[in-house]
């Protein structure tokens, strides 16, 4: 899966998780940019991504994530 495909899928997932279809999913996007992206929504986001891309992340990987760019890099390694 290449980067544009990953971003396209992520856009759908963000819409699903945050119930908000106006989120621009960019590499710089992070929790402070999105309403309702708290620690629980973060877990729901990660779990949805794991299922959608059929990948599993380790606890420390999830803890270190700073923005969407890092998340995509992680997905690319695994998927």
């Amino acid at each position: 899966m290449d980067e544009p495909q990953i971003y396209a899928r992520l856009t759908q997932i963000f819409e699903d998780v945050f119930d908000e279809d106006s989120i621009q999913v960019t590499p710089e996007l992070s929790a402070k940019d999105v309403d309702g992206w708290d620690s629980l929504a973060h877990i729901r986001l990660i779990l949805t991504i794991e299922r959608a891309f059929k990948v599993k992340f380790s606890t420390s990987e999830i803890g270190k994530l700073q923005n969407v760019g890092e998340l995509v890099a992680l997905i690319k390694v695994r998927a």
Partner: protein
Amino acid sequence: MNALYSELQWLPRAPREFSERLKNIAHSDGPLGRALQALAQHALDLNQLTKLAKTIETARAKACAGGKSLDPLAPFRLAVLSNSTIDLIVPALVASAARHGLSLEVVQPSYDQVAQEALTPDSKVNRSKPDAVLFALDYRALPLKLSPGDGEASSATLQGTIGYLQALRGGIKSNSNAVCIFQTFAPPPETLFGSLDRSLPGTQRNLIDSINRELAEFVLSSGDVLLDVAGLAETVGLANWHNPQLWNMAKFSFSDELIPLYADHVARTIAAIRGKSAKVLILDLDNTVWGGVIGDDGLEGIKIAQGDARGEAHLAVQRLALDLRRRGIVLAVSSKNTDEVAREPFEKHPEMLLKLEHIAVFQANWNDKATNIQAIAEELSLGLDAMVFLDDNPAERGLVRKLLPQVSVPELPEEPAYYARTLAAAGYFEAVAFAAEDLQRAGFYQDNAKRANLQKQVGGVDAYLASLDMTIAFQPFDATGRARIVQLINKSNQYNLTTRRYTDPEVAEAESNPDVFTLQVRLSDIFGDNGMISVVVCRPVEGGAWGIDTWLMSCRVLGRKVEHMVLREILSHARAAGVHKLCGTYRPTDRNKLVVEHYAKLGFTKMGEEDSGLTRWELLVEGAEPETAPMKVVSQGFFAAVEKSRA
């Protein structure tokens, strides 16, 4: 992970436009209870449940501000006390409760305040005056002291644990008198010794086993309610249930993938407390109660015997139905069949477990099933929401869901071996108590039930037909279709006007004879391709007319106006061939009463009747304009037929 359970496969899949429908509801000012319940009755994942819950909360606030309720959803206030993070579970509970007819409000105290909330008179939970309190505790909440091999210490731990749970109950009972719902405890998959853990006192597994048993007995005698989470976790597998990573990261008691399943179980339990469980199981017969089609395969042909894989699958359905009846569920039948044909296996087949005496209302006729189910409900004087309808045919399920949304209609997998399991997994008949009267109930309804007479039709069938998006395809006989044509000609009994049987060479002869008009008909719809469903053979008779030698149809597509479309097709070819009249014959057999009025319904004029019951009919081609039905028509291969006749 077993998808039947983790993905709630007894429910239809969520519609593609789920989010749009939610948004429409959010912006609507009308009564929303029904629309919300309808959306909830799909297999929703955690994100969808979360979205739906948000819409429900908004709708409830709006209704409340206007002094209204989310009718017909019944209000219920549930306090949840837990030692784990339930923030993702709460929305799932709200949405799943709507599925079961409840407008659920969840009272959620701060994290891990179980004892404080239960025991303090003016705690958040007790002040909220909940209808019920759910102790959503897992084994980590218990004072479990492991003492392998030490019987005395282990029994002290057991007593300490049960004492703790009883103290929690006592707090709630004296402070708010809510119904207490206790959960059994799912043991973690890790063992210490291995298999020995089960029998050795003081191991985690042995302790949890004893606690669950003692808790179950205590709940049964106290009038509280038990939610068997241990049973649920065993059903999906303990290793699937427990997820140590999620516990470490966020204190989730069990895997997020199983939240929809858990939430549905909580919701059905609360619905049962409110008396909203179903009371009647309505069974389709052909390919549901037995394998095959009684009208076509006959008593010897249907599959219901022990020792036959197909037959055993359907026997399992019968066994479950019978067991349900013994616990008080009323059984009824709705089948598209001639009444006496449908009754025959019940009366004569030695392997049938179900007998006529078990069936409170027996509806075998050719009406649509929504009409029949309504008649059954009226006959039993029970609401439609007390009905569960089991049918292998997706088109019938779709029709009933569309016309009677209050009726529960489980999806069924292709494989009949899973029918019984799917019905049981759906939990329609959840009960929180069992009394002696329950044993009598099925008989009670039965005494009062007479066979309902069905005249009135449920409206909207035409609209439903249009929604099926049907395509009907006509072709003359050809070599590719021949095997199926021969099979239909020799197997169809019910929708068969003349019941003339032809061999393969005879069909091949009709295929190549330029004077014979032949038709093979296929039908597809949104549920898939039904394959070849109708066959017609017309032969020239005196005076430039066509005699309809054979006209048969599969009963699977009854009530779709396929016969009207077939007649239109015959007429157009008759016109092209310069034929001015169609002559039809109905030759009665003991199986084809269904079509006695076939030609009358299609506008033919009756020309005569013989003592045998044989009737003759005619239709003038000129001016004949049969009713049409909403389907796309594809007609192909006839040019070749014309060529053939010219050659």
